[in-house]
């Protein structure tokens, strides 16, 4: 019978915590930057300029139909061949941002398309200023409509970020690899690391749900 050896793993727990901090930084950074890209690209995809719509379409489809692993290989190993090189952690941030930006673009676009033009006309008729219309009539309801999709995409981003360990970034999964190679307690190490991811993702989704309850409390009219 196999006896589990968790002691050496917990002896290195501070290193796993350091890794978790990097994972959080990478995910949160990519979340914010990715959201900015999503909003820009979503407006590009709904614009009147055909070339712009096409370019954003190519970006979204290429990223959504290739594995993140291959994307990060291409960015970290492929791009230096054409003179663009990054250190592991910045490369990880760039890859995660580009990845989540593509998914976010589709989600934000769906949100904008869910706003009926009649709402905007009603806003104009009520004498709202342009900024007010943009904020209360377009952005807030659009964000509300896509909030669940957007936040589950962010949780998925957190989980995907574990893949950056393959380019020797210093995230939680990489810290797990280091601890594993020193303690030889493979199964125990990855059980602990997996549990840490579960805790982070659970806290994050609870946080997102709390924000949803606070920000979008007004009733939905029909």
């Amino acid at each position: 019978m196999y006896s589990f050896k968790f002691a050496p793993v917990f002896a290195n727990f501070d290193r796993l915590l350091d890794g978790a901090a990097v994972t959080l930084q990478l995910s949160c950074g990519a979340m914010v930057l990715g959201l900015v890209i999503s909003i820009i690209c979503a407006s590009g995809r709904t614009s009147h300029v055909k070339a712009l719509r096409f370019l954003v379409g190519v970006y979204v489809e290429v990223i959504r139909n290739t594995p993140f692993l291959v994307q990060i290989f291409f960015i970290y190993f492929g791009l230096p061949a054409v003179g663009i090189s990054f250190n592991p952690n910045p490369a990880a941030l760039v890859a995660l941002t580009i990845n989540v930006g593509a998914y976010g673009t589709e989600i934000i676009r769906a949100g904008i398309e869910s706003i009926h033009w009649g709402q905007v006309e009603a806003g104009i008729a009520l004498g709202l200023k342009r900024v007010q219309i943009l904020r209360y009539v377009i952005l807030k309801p659009a964000l509300r409509a896509v909030y669940p999709a957007l936040t589950s995409q962010f949780i998925f981003l957190l989980l995907t970020s574990s893949v950056v360990s393959v380019i020797s970034a210093t995230d939680l999964a990489a810290a797990g690899n280091d601890v594993n190679s020193e303690t030889f307690a493979s199964f125990e190490t990855y059980i602990v690391v997996t549990a840490m991811y579960l805790v982070i993702s659970t806290i994050l989704s609870a946080l997102f749900a709390a924000i949803q309850r606070m920000a979008f409390r007004y009733p939905l009219g029909r």
Binding site: P67, F73, F74
Partner: protein, 217 residues
């Protein structure tokens, strides 16, 4: 150092068959597992429902990479010879069961409650009720998101390269290490994945729009 030529290109294309095989295995295994998860998740039994909530939470709340590592190193602990293919099959199947279970739960719940009540009133038992009334109606809604998930699964099989299984992504790494042409090779690998995923994505999108039109008031 080797030149990148026709042979290398062929190696890549042939490696893609393992990607497809893995995706099919995971999809079939996950389809069976997912159906069980979805049925238990919507069952009357509280314990079954609670257990499935935990199952889905765990598999949707942890990285697939960690699930692969646990399957890989777990095999050794339970006394099996470590085999990347078997480990990949186990992890991908469990992973897909969690995701498909959650997708299909939503589809089962989308069937109006009155349908279940009517079939109970007609004296149908659980099996007949599900087989002839609920599941056929749920299936109609389920097809587009299921095809969408198949795309995700196909891409995620690339992670099995990290536990040493030689499929498309791993073959790309191997060829890169002998030809030193990462830009070209990873670009091609990405293109091959794209060629497999994009048609599926288009089909999923078209079906989704068709369904949205059909169910609009």
């Amino acid at each position: 150092m080797r030149q990148f030529g026709w042979n290398e290109f062929q190696l890549l294309v042939f490696a893609a068959r393992w990607t497809i095989i893995l995706a099919i295995i995971a999809f079939v295994g996950g389809g069976i597992g997912g159906l069980i998860v979805a049925l238990l998740r919507t069952a009357d039994n509280r314990v079954a429902r609670g257990a499935m909530i935990v199952f889905i939470r765990v598999f949707q709340g942890t990285p697939l990479l960690m699930q692969l590592f646990l399957a890989y190193f777990g095999m050794a602990i339970f006394g099996f010879t470590v085999n990347p293919l078997i480990a990949a099959m186990i992890a991908l199947t469990a992973h897909a069961s969690g995701y498909l279970g959650e997708i299909w739960r939503g589809c089962i719940e989308a069937v109006p409650r009155g349908q279940t009540e009517a079939s109970i009133a007609l004296g149908l038992h659980y099996f007949a009720r599900m087989r002839y009334v609920v599941l056929p109606q749920a299936a109609r809604v389920a097809v587009p998101p299921t095809v969408g998930f198949l795309v995700q699964l196909l891409k995620e099989t690339s992670l099995t390269s990290i536990i040493g299984f030689v499929e498309l992504a791993r073959e790309g790494q191997i060829i890169t290490s002998v030809t030193f042409r990462p830009f070209l090779v990873y670009g091609l690998v990405a293109a091959i994945y794209f060629a497999m995923c994009w048609p599926l994505s288009l089909v999923a999108g078209r079906m989704e729009r068709g369904l949205a039109r059909a169910t609009k008031r």
